[in-house]
């Protein structure tokens, strides 16, 4: 980085995409707690704030465990994933997205998994969630499996993924999901 670096590029990009929050770096638990707090402060709809937070958590955990870019966490005493978490909005939706470097060999399994989940209806999602939650072969893995299904169920929308693949060892994965600002208004 140059000392005379200008943040204007970020600023302009954030404004253009209506990003209200963005973070790049090591995704620690403390950071996630802070994001949760700021979402609750900003949002008058408690359910939407909670769901947004849930989406951030599941995306963050994907980065934490699966990003191929790592940094050493003094607190956890181990290497943890580095990536980007951002929240943007349109008039009707919030959009939560993550970005991280990934192993190019995982491109096909990840896209197949997202496509599979995106093609399930509500009942299908429920059953798949139930089955995966009971699946002993993945029960001890680092949270794999349930997060993506939960994101679709909680948001009521499909997953969007963009993979920047340069044909090298690593690709870059952007995962996003949107949630209706009025979704989940308080009910009895």
């Amino acid at each position: 980085m140059e000392e005379k670096f200008s943040n204007y590029g970020f600023y302009a990009g954030f404004r253009e995409n209506k990003l209200s929050l963005a973070f790049q770096g090591m995704i620690s638990q403390d950071l996630l707690s802070l994001i949760g707090l700021s979402l609750r402060r900003k949002n008058d709809n408690e359910m939407v704030a909670k769901r947004l937070f849930g989406l951030v958590i599941e995306l963050a955990q994907n980065i934490y465990h699966y990003s191929t870019e790592k940094a050493y966490s003094e607190k956890d005493k181990k290497e943890v994933g580095v990536g980007i978490i951002a929240i943007g909005e349109t008039d009707e939706h919030y959009i939560v997205c993550s970005g991280n470097r990934m192993d190019s060999r995982k491109i096909i399994p990840i896209t197949e998994r997202c496509d599979y989940i995106n093609n399930l209806d509500d009942d299908g999602l429920r059953l798949y969630y139930k089955e995966q939650r009971r699946n002993p072969s993945i029960a001890d893995s680092k949270g794999a499996g349930l997060g993506l299904i939960d994101m679709v169920r909680r948001s009521g929308n499909k997953l969007t993924y963009v993979i920047n693949d340069s044909g090298e060892q690593f690709a870059f994965l952007t995962l996003a999901v949107r949630i209706n600002k009025n979704f989940g208004t308080l009910e009895n």
Partner: protein, 127 residues
């Protein structure tokens, strides 16, 4: 047997297990990155506790948020309690408290009812 207590933190629930009264409770938030590691001592205590027959146990969940990783751990707790009842070792009551209007937390409780063979009482509360 000694009681088990874990104080709450931003991403860790408060866990209060009273061995003499059989009142066990988990409350707050749970989104630890390493849920298996975090819940390991909790399960160890539960295993020891459930080895003692003829107890009247009340397990209460009062969660405001938990991640998918934690949801697996809770399923394991239900399975352990189910085992205890099935073997006629004692009496188990499970209460799933949810903040009134929190339809997601209520739904989580309903799904545990559907996905397990234990009886779970869904109880709304007003803050």
């Amino acid at each position: 047997m000694e009681d088990f207590y874990h104080p709450p933190d931003h991403f860790i629930p408060e866990i209060r297990f009273n061995a003499s009264t059989g009142e066990l409770s988990i409350s707050g938030e749970s989104f630890h990155e390493y849920s298996v590691e975090f819940y390991q001592p909790v399960f160890q205590w539960l295993r020891d506790f459930l080895a003692i027959p003829n107890q009247k146990i009340t397990m209460s969940f009062r969660m405001t948020y938990f991640n998918t990783n934690t949801s697996r751990r809770f399923l394991e707790v239900f399975d352990m309690l189910e085992e205890y009842e099935k073997n006629n070792k004692g009496c188990v009551t499970i209460n799933w408290y949810y903040k009134a209007h929190d339809i997601d937390m209520k739904e989580s409780g309903e799904e545990y009812i559907a996905d397990t063979n234990v009886e779970i009482n869904l109880i709304p509360y007003v803050v």
